[in-house]
């Protein structure tokens, strides 16, 4: 098991390094123009050259990258070109907000899709048809349209929730819950659709395995076999799709945060992107990749716990 964890960890770190190299190269390859973009068209050649040197952009890209990497390893991701704020601070102050809605959506997705997927697979018949139909629709409609619909209906028409704004958990747990409920629902629906299909599929698959018959032939009831053996075996594929969906949730959060005016990474990302704040964008890319790597690692560990064969892989 220890070897398994170590291998996963190494491959995650390698992935992170490759992403940082690619992102850095693509973001900084425009060298000279960057200073010009910051200073505007009216700046003289001299001040542009000065700014370029100040930002370290006159160095070869490889030197720049290793400079960035050595500082990144100490937790310093540079400073924003526009606000002068350290990138690490800009990201870490918003991280908790985004993670709270993304993790909330992941948990809701996991719970609801296991219930729906197992119900559809075990019950079959009309339940199966209805669940499948709904999940195709839930997947088809883009997540941000669902978010817009939720805002219009529950916040603007029914006034059950405040349409926008975020209350930190530390300030008021109940208001925090009220402020993240709609965003989490908006994010979850598309995800639930995808994961439900997968859970249903893998439960149907597991139900037809030979060992189900053999266990029942030993006098175990159908329910016992389903809830102990079938669920555990269907858990692996379901977790794999949940990992994929989590990546999608991080992307979806950017739009949903914008709609509900939630001060998370999404807002930072949109502002940094429209300004061309390269150090901030770079920091966001690396932070997102790191989150994905960590989540994948956790899911791999769960997989290993669920299925002993995985530990050998």
């Amino acid at each position: 098991m220890f070897g398994f964890i170590l291998r996963r960890l190494v491959s995650g770190v390698v992935l992170l390094l490759v992403i940082s190299v690619l992102a850095y190269t693509l973001l900084y390859v425009g060298g000279g123009n960057i200073a010009r973009r910051i200073l505007g068209q009216s700046a003289t050649e001299e001040t542009v050259a000065q700014k370029t040197a100040e930002l370290g952009l006159d160095q070869p890209i490889i030197v720049q990258y290793f400079d960035w990497l050595s500082r990144a390893l100490t937790g310093d991701l540079g400073t924003s070109w526009f606000t002068g704020q350290p990138v690490t601070e800009g990201i870490s102050s918003r991280l908790a907000v985004t993670l709270s809605i993304v993790i909330g959506a992941t948990i809701i997705t996991a719970i609801v899709s296991v219930i729906l997927g197992v119900w559809a697979a075990v019950h079959g018949g009309w339940v199966d048809k209805v669940v499948q139909g709904i999940s195709i629709l839930g997947f088809a409609i883009p997540g941000f349209l669902i978010a817009l619909g939720l805002v219009t209906f529950f916040a603007l028409n029914l006034k059950w929730f405040k349409p926008t704004g975020y209350v930190p958990f530390a300030v008021s747990p109940t208001e925090w819950l009220a402020s993240v409920t709609l965003p989490i629902i908006a994010l979850s629906i598309g995800c639930i659709a995808g994961v439900t299909q997968q859970v249903r599929g893998s439960v149907v698959d597991a139900l037809h395995r030979d060992y189900v018959r053999t266990l029942r032939s030993r006098g175990l009831s159908h329910n016992r076999v389903v809830y102990k053996h079938v669920l555990r075996n269907a858990g692996g594929p379901a977790l794999a799709i949940l990992a994929v969906q989590f990546v999608g949730l991080l992307g979806g959060a950017i739009i949903v945060e914008q709609i509900f005016a939630i001060p998370g990474l999404g807002q930072v990302a949109v502002i940094a992107t429209s300004q061309g704040d390269i150090p901030m964008v770079m920091g966001l890319v690396v932070a997102t990749a790191a989150i994905v790597v960590i989540v994948n690692l956790l899911i791999d560990l769960l997989q290993g716990w669920l299925n002993p064969k995985v530990r050998l892989a």
Binding site: G219, L220, V270, N307
Partner: protein, 604 residues
């Protein structure tokens, strides 16, 4: 992202006109009609509205619908209806660009990686993993930060990000067919790689790629709209996303403004997804149809629909056996079909098993012997049920017993040994826990007592290191070992009747002999009645007291084993017997090997 990849689509199905069959389904028809209208309205936008979508006017800002302006005006005083039509051009074209790039990269990469394997395979698979590791939105934002707000560039990049969807699909299909015999044959006959890929492999991947394309197009259109909705797109061209952005900003002042682009976008994405899922369903259904036709029983006279040849009782056997345990009479088993009819797979089977007697059920695969065995435990696959006849076990009718009654009988009274040892153990649990669980339920033992009994049983069935096997997972033991574990599990509650479904078929020849010897010993010790399903007359000769020969779901000949071997009367039985005689030493005496000396140990 969702994975609506079709599981397996037979290559032939793609050949018949898919469009025609799609148009016959209501959802397929509606999707195609909607998408066609959408594309036409985008292409012929100038004919449908004379107004320039970018023509702004200050006095019309957020103006209501009026003559010639059915949907009113947006925040810059531009005509909403005209923008909606022209936006279709850009939104659809952007989605198409992403789709085309994703398909070119993904399909080519998948074909090459799947066909040639080698380094290209590992490199491209790794890249596909890399592309899936970042949210597309983050990559698009990063690209926007450097490259500026160009829809075409964003969509081209998104195409690259989406390419793994095609890559994985094509890769999986190609690796599945590349080792097929017909591809091998083509290679041997001297066809070039190019024409093999073109003729044999592309036909296999075509249908799944078309389905995936519909999905991808929907995703691309949605993400493009999302990017524009964030206000990060090119604001100079009308798209559904920029219209959504405008509507959202003015949601308090003009709530209807956001409705139209939302509606068009939602309907488009729905139509594409529904089209994909309908295509998949249609192809899957057409793929299974011919098979079902073939399985349907042929009309006319069934040559086996005659009374079974029954041999006289053999007194030597009768003396050794006890009372009747199981009495099956006129048993028929049927499967419910999707069209409401029932397909009968076992007809009018009658047989008895006495205590201490081994009754062999022999026949080719598909003769109904396993179905008969499963029906005794009432563990037929989904849709299967007893349509006629009676199963009486120890004086109790099982054919229509409730599930609760059956649960009490299974394990305690009737036990089962399956054919394939590995797939009949749950790979996620240790061997020990799979033995302990039923004993606790059936015998009400404590965990400790059940563990002790499991270890005893493992040692009793000839496992050299019971503790190690108890703690092992199924994939850590050999097939012969696993079969011993299953036998130990089956006899753990000391059943009266044991149903063994080809218990040695999946094993090596040397292990087969040991397992048969073990079964004979246990049957003797526990004085069980046994139904032994097999296709091997050697096994019958070795173990059985009585034998019934099955063909096409019927018993055609039955009697004491000596009578069948000495004077088989049915031509089918005679041909089965002569077949094994030709094989040579199959009937030879199996040397009794003490299991302890030659068993394969636990693999570490």
């Amino acid at each position: 992202m969702i994975d609506l990849t079709p599981a397996t689509i037979p290559p032939k199905a793609a050949r018949t006109s898919l469009i025609v069959r799609l148009l016959k389904t209501p959802i397929g028809l509606a999707s195609i009609v909607f998408l066609t209208l959408l594309v036409l309205s985008a292409i012929f936008a100038p004919l449908l509205t004379p107004i320039d979508p970018n023509q702004a006017s200050l006095q019309n800002i957020l103006g209501p619908p009026s003559e010639g302006h059915p949907l009113g005006f947006d925040s810059a005083g531009r005509d909403v209806f005209s923008r909606l039509l022209y936006a279709g051009r850009f939104s659809l074209a952007g989605g198409l660009l992403a789709l085309i790039i994703a398909a070119i990269i993904g399909v080519t990469g998948g074909l090459l990686a799947g066909y040639y394997r080698g380094w290209f395979d590992s490199v491209s698979s790794w890249f596909a993993g890399l592309l899936m590791a970042l949210p597309a939105m983050v990559v698009l934002l990063a690209a926007r930060a450097v490259l500026g707000p160009s829809m075409w560039l964003s969509m081209a990049i998104f195409g690259v990000i989406l390419s793994p969807a095609f890559f994985r699909l094509v890769y999986a299909s190609v690796t599945a067919v590349r080792d097929e015999l017909y591809v091998d044959a083509a290679r041997v006959s001297g066809l070039s790689d190019g024409s093999i890929i073109g003729r044999h492999i592309l036909t296999v991947v075509r249908a799944p790629v078309i389905i995936q394309s519909a999905m991808i197009l929907g995703i691309a259109i949605a993400i493009q709209a999302g990017l524009d909705f964030l206000g990060l797109g090119d604001m100079t061209i009308p798209t559904w996303g920029t219209m959504l952005n405008d509507g959202f900003v003015n949601i308090y002042k003009a709530p209807l403004l956001i409705l139209w682009p939302s509606l068009v976008l939602a309907l488009t994405c729905m139509a594409l997804t529904l089209l994909a899922s309908t295509m998949r369903d249609t192809l899957e259904r057409s793929g299974t149809k011919p098979k079902k036709l073939k399985q349907r029983p042929t009309a006319g006279i069934d040559p086996d629909k005659v009374p079974a040849v029954t041999h006289d009782e053999d007194h030597r056997t009768a003396a050794r056996t006890g009372e009747v345990l199981l009495d099956i009479s006129d048993l028929s088993i049927g499967y419910a079909q999707p069209d409401g009819s029932t397909k009968t797979v076992v007809h009018d089977v009658s047989l008895t098993v006495r205590r201490g007697e081994v009754h062999g059920l022999i026949g080719e695969s598909g003769s109904g012997k396993t179905q008969t065995a499963w029906s005794i435990m009432r563990l037929l696959p989904e849709g299967g049920h007893v349509t006629n006849g009676a199963i009486v076990f120890e004086g109790k009718g099982l054919a229509h017993a409730t599930e609760k009654e059956m649960t009490k009988i299974r394990g305690r009274k009737i036990a089962y040994i399956p054919q394939e040892p590995m797939s009949n153990l749950d790979a996620s649990f240790t061997i020990g826990s799979q033995m302990v669980e039923p004993m606790r339920v059936c015998l009400g033992l404590s965990k400790k007592a059940a563990t002790e009994r499991a270890l005893e049983l493992l040692s009793h069935v000839g496992i050299p290191n019971p503790k190690r096997t108890f703690a092992a997972y199924p994939h850590e033991v050999s097939g012969g070992m696993a079969q011993r574990v299953l036998i130990a599990g089956a006899i753990s509650c000391e059943p009266d009747l044991l149903i063994a479904d080809e218990p040695t078929t999946a094993l090596d020849v040397t292990v087969q002999a040991e397992i048969l010897e073990l079964l004979r010993r246990l049957q003797d010790e526990l004085n069980m009645g046994v139904i032994l399903v097999t296709h091997n007359f050697g096994v019958v000769a070795d173990l059985c007291d009585r034998v019934s020969v099955m063909r096409h779901g019927r018993i055609i000949e039955t009697g004491p084993v000596r009578a069948i071997f000495n004077s088989a009367r049915h031509p089918y039985t005679q041909s089965l017997l002569s077949a094994i005689l030709e094989e040579g030493n199959a009937r030879g005496e199996l040397a009794p090997v003490p299991p302890q000396t030659t068993t394969q140990g636990v693999q570490s």
